[in-house]
């Protein structure tokens, strides 16, 4: 290697260290309870050893977006480093009575409902700052919802990559094919975030879509 070439190489290494290219920011989106945080926790556990946040059967458990920077995922074909954002579940309505039905008192339920509305706003705002989205759907539920349509539409309008996850396929009533039929123009992977079923295929798809 010539002197100039070596100088150039050292310089570009230094440059990369000083002004490191930003990692791709990937948001995990979906309706409340779809399993977004369960999936985020699995990704972090598999590749970093820590966790993203708390999981609950009560909707709107996540009411603040959380970002984990620099998650390196290695697959057979590829290695990529991403920032993963776990977002609050998107909804078009929030009624505090639903929290009361889960056994919370009125004050607590109203506080949660308020936080949940703020969480939805935060999740919508994050759409402007992403490089791609993992859209998580509960495969036991009807996929034709406004939330799903809106997330997909926003990614298409920005020409950003999208990976649809049909989650909870460990449940016998799950129907990932309904999700595939609903949105045939986008890649879909059927997994159980809880049990880890098909998670390697999921990582391969991530590498393909966001790599």
């Amino acid at each position: 290697m010539g002197v100039i070439k070596r100088f150039k190489k050292n310089f570009s290494d230094l440059f990369n260290k000083l002004f490191k290219k930003q990692n791709a920011r990937i948001g995990i989106y979906g309706p409340p309870n779809a399993g977004k945080t369960t999936l985020a926790n699995r990704i972090l556990r598999d590749w970093t050893g820590d966790a993203m946040g708390s999981v609950s059967h009560i909707p709107h458990e996540t009411r603040r977006a959380r970002r984990r920077e620099g998650v390196t995922i290695k697959t057979n074909s590829n290695s990529l480093t991403l920032d993963i954002i776990d977002t609050p579940g998107l909804a078009t309505k929030i009624d505090f009575h639903e929290f009361m039905e889960q056994g919370m008192d009125e004050t607590e339920s109203k506080r949660r409902a308020k936080e949940a509305t703020e969480g939805v706003i935060e999740a919508v705002k994050w759409l402007d700052n992403l490089d791609g989205v993992i859209l998580v759907m509960d495969a036991t539920e009807d996929p034709f919802t406004q939330v799903n349509v809106t997330v997909i539409g926003n990614m298409e309008a920005r020409s950003l990559p999208l990976l649809i996850v049909a989650n909870k396929v460990d449940l016998p009533e799950s129907s990932p094919s309904t999700i595939r039929d609903a949105f045939p123009q986008h890649p879909m992977v059927a997994i159980s975030a809880l049990e880890g079923k098909n998670i390697d295929t999921f990582y391969e798809e991530i590498a393909k879509r966001f790599g």
Binding site: V124, K125, D142
Partner: protein, 123 residues
């Protein structure tokens, strides 16, 4: 305008929607729905308008008051025409959208070709 069981349902033409800016559209929809009306939009909203409608809805939710909206629309159709491809415009058409107050439009179900709404008398 169709009156049914004391509910007002307004059908909004594509022409009327096209005359409004995105901000006006979102404001108009929210105002109508907060009054208890059910809207059928001939032409749907853009994805960005849908997102700001969700945001605006969230800011207006109040305990024992407005609890949000129920909304169903069809995904925009992907333009696979030659012109669409070279313009890299994936989205050209949005389709029929139904929007109403969440406490009255109890179930809004959709499949590929039909949106069905169940309107409830009870709040």
């Amino acid at each position: 305008m169709i009156m049914m069981q004391g509910f007002q349902m307004d059908l909004i033409s594509e022409r009327r929607l096209n005359e409004m800016t995105p901000v006006e559209k979102v404001r108009f929809i929210i105002d109508e729905v907060k009054e208890g009306k059910i809207l059928v939009l001939e032409k749907g909203l853009s994805p960005e308008e849908e997102a700001s409608l969700i945001e605006m809805t969230m800011t207006l939710i109040e305990p024992d008051g407005f609890s949000g909206i129920e909304m169903e629309s069809y995904p925009s159709e992907v333009d696979t025409s030659f012109l669409g491809k070279i313009l890299k415009r994936n989205i050209t058409k949005s389709r029929l959208t139904v929007i109403g107050p969440a406490d009255q439009l109890k179930t809004l179900k959709k499949d590929r070709n039909m949106i069905s709404a169940l309107i409830s008398n009870y709040k």
